[in-house]
Symmetry: C2
Subunit: 328 residues, 2 copies
Amino acid sequence: MSIKIGIYGYGNLGRGVEYAIRQNRDLELVAVFTRRDPKSVQIDTEGVCVYHIDEAKNMTDKIDVMILCGGSATDLPVQTPELAKLFNVVDSFDTHAKIPQHFENCDKAAKQSGKTAIISVGWDPGMFSLSRIYSAAILPDGNDYTFWGKGVSQGHSDAIRRVEGVKDGKQYTIPVDAALDAVRSGSNPELSARQKHIRECFVVAEEGADKARIENEIKTMPNYFADYDTIVHFISQEELDRDHGGIPHGGFVFRTGKTGKNGENKHVIEYSLKLDSNPEFTASVITAYARAAYRLNSEGVSGCKTVFDIAPIYLSSKTPEELRGSIL
Amino acid sequence: MSIKIGIYGYGNLGRGVEYAIRQNRDLELVAVFTRRDPKSVQIDTEGVCVYHIDEAKNMTDKIDVMILCGGSATDLPVQTPELAKLFNVVDSFDTHAKIPQHFENCDKAAKQSGKTAIISVGWDPGMFSLSRIYSAAILPDGNDYTFWGKGVSQGHSDAIRRVEGVKDGKQYTIPVDAALDAVRSGSNPELSARQKHIRECFVVAEEGADKARIENEIKTMPNYFADYDTIVHFISQEELDRDHGGIPHGGFVFRTGKTGKNGENKHVIEYSLKLDSNPEFTASVITAYARAAYRLNSEGVSGCKTVFDIAPIYLSSKTPEELRGSIL
């Protein structure tokens, strides 16, 4: 008997979840929900229907876990607690500063309904957070470093596109090799924003626009670019579409620490991701956690959880015996 | 109120646990147990007594968690189930093939006593196993690769020292850079033992010994060296003591996998460790899991557990709220 999954929101992330479900034989996609006209949404799985989100509330008996695929800015803060009243849910809420509030809202809803809500699942927050919690527990006397990239930052790409005279643009966040090497050496460097990341922008200017002004406006934009070494390339729309259509991302999490009688022994823990598709990898993580949500709830666990609260065995489709005998 | 820890066996690992406990304010070392004459064992913590192992059974009310620091070959298979009848225990049993049997033995003992036993904690098995279970759950369509080193292999160093005419020796296991790069590229190479690791030996020959014969015997030794490119250096005892006295180790765990409609997007997950001291790092991991053993048992959980069964939050001395607000 497979675990029945609903997808709530069908953009890049929702489509990624659809593909991820196919790689897991114990999971089954049973419905996709959209805010748009369901007839206008073409999904990739035969025999599965698309419904308007308003119909979800009538399908609580058909869905074991609802995977929320909306955005963190406005969708998830409302949708996750709302749907946790009806379903086990998983989301990828990634506004780090607002996680405590989101947790409280979802916990309250899920405890009332007796459902399990797992929030902030993906790679950061998510897999990177796991690396941080394990490493810090093992090496209490140490330092954490997180680097992002090379990858496309949606927020920074949006910021470029808001500059007057910019028709289109993409921004890559790139970790500085010298900074990575300094961290790997165990020297515990103190690194400024500028020392950690480079920002590389590919910009399509409108015809006749003043490129010097655009470049200057980007490079001096507070919060987004002013604190970094920023590179601006002007290219054609064709080049942008041809060479920068992907959504790659990734990054590095380090913990460097000391042990021994006088801290004489150094250790470096490094976790890194190199992802061709940021949304598809995030989708793969939340899909694995949907299995955990179902199992935890079957055991009577309710309320809000994060990746910190969930034993890894809940993510795997294999039995405990198989896992102990093969990959332990 | 701190968690009271006993150390059972005081070699490199036991001493590492002693140092690790000092880095954790909620843990307190209360006793060290040895097979030797307790008077002959000098520990590094003032006010803590050394006892003969036979006295452990009389101290069940003084110790919350016993950390077993014996060897996997003969000590732990007997000691861990035996002590699980009396204490919450953690061990670093690392004979992968015998984990299922060890698990059964410890589970039976711990269930009878109502104690919690956590076995096979360290880095492999341990942190590497965690990387494998998480990564495989996220990328079901993928491949696993584990590399060890650069580091000292105890088993291979022992094998060198058993060769006639060898006075002393150390063996380093070294991952082959080309193999690491091939895996990182996502090309999913099939790699032989020889393609993955080099074995580098530093050998002190007895006076007048036939070095050519020794070198040949090492290089052709079945199981240990014959399937690898092996480098043999003859050096003096002084050089060995001066340059090869440490016990560094480490390694790499990769999962490479595909996602998307037709597997068109590749992803690489890499976890690596670079450790100045193998026993001290292992000690740091098992010390963190001692906290988990105590907490799980306080919640009424009994029986045998592995790193797969334990939610990461149990390892951290911080509160759930702190963790969600800082490192999630």
